[in-house]
């Protein structure tokens, strides 16, 4: 147990000292296993203008078992369902104990840039994505504007 806690402490430490660009992950005060996460949508995606909140929980068996992660912000994405659950291989059978919170969050961010409607979790969204991608992306942009916080970006193009 102490060994595992040590790992968690070290991960938290590293996340603070060397944060992932566009992602903030912090344990909430009284529970080292429960993280509140804020993630910016990747630039080249329909989610670019939004900042999304997630919750991340490290089960007792972590790192032998993967962390549990879900979106708290409503998402229009074929691999994220209406409860915010995420369909991602490394959170299921491809989990490796050598993966970290950091890598998990990066993978989730990458999933936002590259939706995979062939392996859907939200069937209706995936259907839309496959039959009319343009309209699906429009909806995703609309939902982002509706439900996500607006990102304040430093780059010039966005400020204009």
């Amino acid at each position: 147990m102490s060994m595992v806690s040590k790992r968690i402490l070290k991960e938290v430490d590293r996340l603070r000292q060397d944060p992932v660009p566009g992602i903030v992950a912090e344990p909430i005060e009284d529970n080292i296993r429960y993280f509140s996460v804020r993630m910016n949508g990747p630039n080249d995606s329909p989610y670019a203008d939004g900042c999304f909140t997630l919750e991340l929980y490290l089960p007792d068996e972590y790192p032998m078992l993967p962390p549990k992660v879900r979106f708290l912000t409503k998402m229009y994405h074929p691999n994220i369902d209406k409860l915010g659950r995420i369909c991602l291989d490394i959170l299921k059978d491809k989990w490796s104990p050598a993966l970290q919170i950091r890598t998990v969050l990066l993978s989730i961010q990458a999933l936002l840039s590259a939706p995979n409607p062939d392996d859907p979790l939200a069937n209706d969204v995936a259907e839309q994505w496959k039959t009319d991608e343009k309209k699906a992306i429009e909806t995703a942009v609309k939902w982002t504007a509706l439900y996500a916080e607006r990102v304040v970006r430093n780059d010039v193009a966005k400020r204009e």
Partner: protein
């Protein structure tokens, strides 16, 4: 009977039945009380030598050897049977319906794996650990493995997550640079393990990781914990890692054996609860439309190797599956329809009469008819409630047309009722066994007979339940069989067995009655022998008929 089947392909294997020829096999038949003691002694001798013979036949996959009872209880059968064959000048041959199979206990399975590995190590000329992994990856198919390996050893190894020069798996320490990517501990004092991929993790984390996978049921498919790394954890490394975790290691070995049986098509686990035996049977899946691979586990369970359903001879697997599906869909509804409804003679709608007079008006087609004779109503005139027109032509025709459309249903129910009846009887046979045991005790008490002298009763009950099971499935076969002369022959065989079985059942159910014990015993033993010979005839005939394609099946 057996001569007819000498040209049957399975009869090549003639080494099978080498059962004791000791005299006295008809011991029960005409023995007087004066000779009882001597006979009992002799039968014990027979019993001993025959159980050896039975053990041998069992390993050769002889069905009748494990007719479902304990080995030394079927002496009467085999004694009689064999002497009969001998008297008829027949060579002892394998039964036409028997398939070859072998029963393995967990140790036997381990030995089989070990032997295969031992055989392959010198062929592939790689380490034992690597050979083992390769074999498992190739699902123990030696030929493709050797072919691939000779053609391109590097690719073959890589495909299986191995490398050509696997680093010797050993636990190391003393590396200042080492940091475990799982627990982030580092330092020279840390012990760590790495596979050929050289991803290293501390032994504690590695062991926890492997234990978790093993608890999930994994064995040789455990991979290196590094993300996306495909290198497999070999057995030597696993044993090294888990040396301190005895329970987990045991589980690991169990999982390995389990996956061996699951990975091979020619192996299956006995489906009986808590049975730990596995069965090997080489009948290919493609042959299972004509061969019914019934196997007998050492635990006493008789089941079909192909579909794992309890012994279903003489119906082949695909008919059994169809039948079970049909029964699930149809039987209750069909029974209810038959009991409660009739069909409109005009539009064939199914009608339930829930009250009122016999003047029926079909709601679908407005046809008026009489519920009693099914004829048109207008011919009835004023004779309400008193239909006496049963034999008039028009009502006869009407009934004919109804009966045609009902014939299918009737036909199904005909077979279903009989199937179901035998199924219930098999269950009742279990209760019968309890009363039989009581009867046997009573006989021992009242007639001062020895235990062995009353065994004929429980033997007879065993015969009954085996025959009833066969009869049950024979109705499934008959249901799908097209009507022709061949079917009539089959049905004759079936009814002979059925009649004999019923007679035996009656004898066994009430054995202590008007006859003396000798008479009863003789009657029951005679009848059992006869029933068994009918059973063999039916099975030999159907298994040959299926092979020859003698019957057409409508499904």
């Amino acid at each position: 009977m057996d001569e007819d089947y000498d040209d049957y392909e399975y009869s090549e294997d003639e080494s099978v039945v080498s059962i004791s020829s000791s005299a006295n096999s008809h011991q029960g038949h005409a023995r007087t009380r004066a000779t009882a003691a001597a006979a009992a002694a002799a039968s014990q001798a027979t019993s001993a030598s025959q159980s050896q013979a039975v053990a041998q036949t069992q390993s050769q996959g002889q069905y009748s050897a494990d007719f479902g009872y304990d080995e030394d209880e079927d002496e009467d059968f085999f004694g009689d049977d064999n002497d009969f064959d001998r008297a008829m000048g027949a060579r002892p041959t394998k039964k036409a319906w028997a398939v070859d199979f072998k029963v393995y206990d967990p140790d036997g399975l381990r030995v089989t794996q070990k032997d295969t590995i031992d055989r392959m190590v010198p062929v592939l000329a790689v380490s034992r650990d690597t050979t083992t992994l390769l074999l498992r990856c190739y699902l123990w198919r030696e030929e493709p493995l050797v072919e691939d390996f000779i053609a391109d050893p590097e690719r073959t190894l890589a495909k299986s997550g191995l490398s050509v020069h696997p680093a010797a798996s050993r636990i190391e320490s003393g590396n200042d640079e080492f940091t475990c990517e799982i627990c982030y501990t580092s330092g020279a004092e840390e012990e760590y393990l790495s596979l050929s991929c050289s991803h290293s993790f501390c032994t504690d984390c590695y062991a926890t990781y492997a234990s978790g996978k093993i608890r999930e049921g994994e064995s040789w498919r455990i991979r290196c914990p590094a993300p996306k790394c495909k290198t497999l954890l070999g057995e030597e490394s696993a044993r090294l890692l888990l040396a301190k975790h005895k329970n987990v290691l045991e589980r690991y070995e169990d999982n390995l054996t389990r996956s061996f049986v699951n990975d091979l098509d020619s192996f299956t686990w006995c489906p009986a609860p808590n049975c730990q035996y596995a069965i090997e049977c080489l009948v290919p899946r493609s042959a299972m439309t004509t061969v019914i691979p019934t196997v007998n586990c050492k635990c006493g369970k008789a089941f079909c190797f192909g579909c794992k359903v309890d012994d279903h001879m003489p119906a082949p697997c695909y008919l059994v599956e169809k039948w079970q599906q049909k029964c699930k869909d149809d039987s209750e509804t069909a029974n209810w329809l038959k009991a409660n409804t009739k069909e409109c003679t005009k539009c064939k709608s199914t009608i339930e009469k829930n009250g009122g007079c016999n003047h029926m008006t079909c709601r679908e087609c407005q046809y008026h008819f009489c519920w009693v004779c099914m004829g048109p109503w207008d011919e009835h005139g004023q004779q309400f409630y008193a239909c006496n027109r049963f034999n008039e032509d028009s009502s006869k025709n009407a009934r004919d047309s109804v009966s045609k459309s009902r014939a299918m249903l009737e036909r199904y129910l005909h077979y279903y009722t009989r199937y179901n009846n035998h199924e219930q009887s098999v269950k009742l046979a279990r209760q019968l066994l309890a009363t039989t045991e009581k009867n046997m005790e009573q006989m021992q008490r009242e007639m001062t007979l020895s235990w062995i002298e009353v065994q004929f009763l429980s033997d007879a009950v065993d015969v009954l339940s085996v025959c009833r099971t066969t009869l049950k499935w024979s109705y499934v076969l008959a249901f799908y069989m097209s009507a022709d002369n061949q079917k009539i022959i089959f049905e004759n065989n079936q009814s002979d067995l059925e009649m004999a079985t019923e007679q035996l059942n009656e004898l066994v159910e009430n054995p202590i009655g008007q006859w003396s014990i000798e008479e009863i015993k003789r009657k029951i033993i005679d009848k059992s022998t006869y029933v068994k010979s009918r059973w063999e005839t039916l099975l030999s005939d159907t298994s040959l008929g299926l092979q020859e394609g003698r019957w057409q099946f409508e499904c």
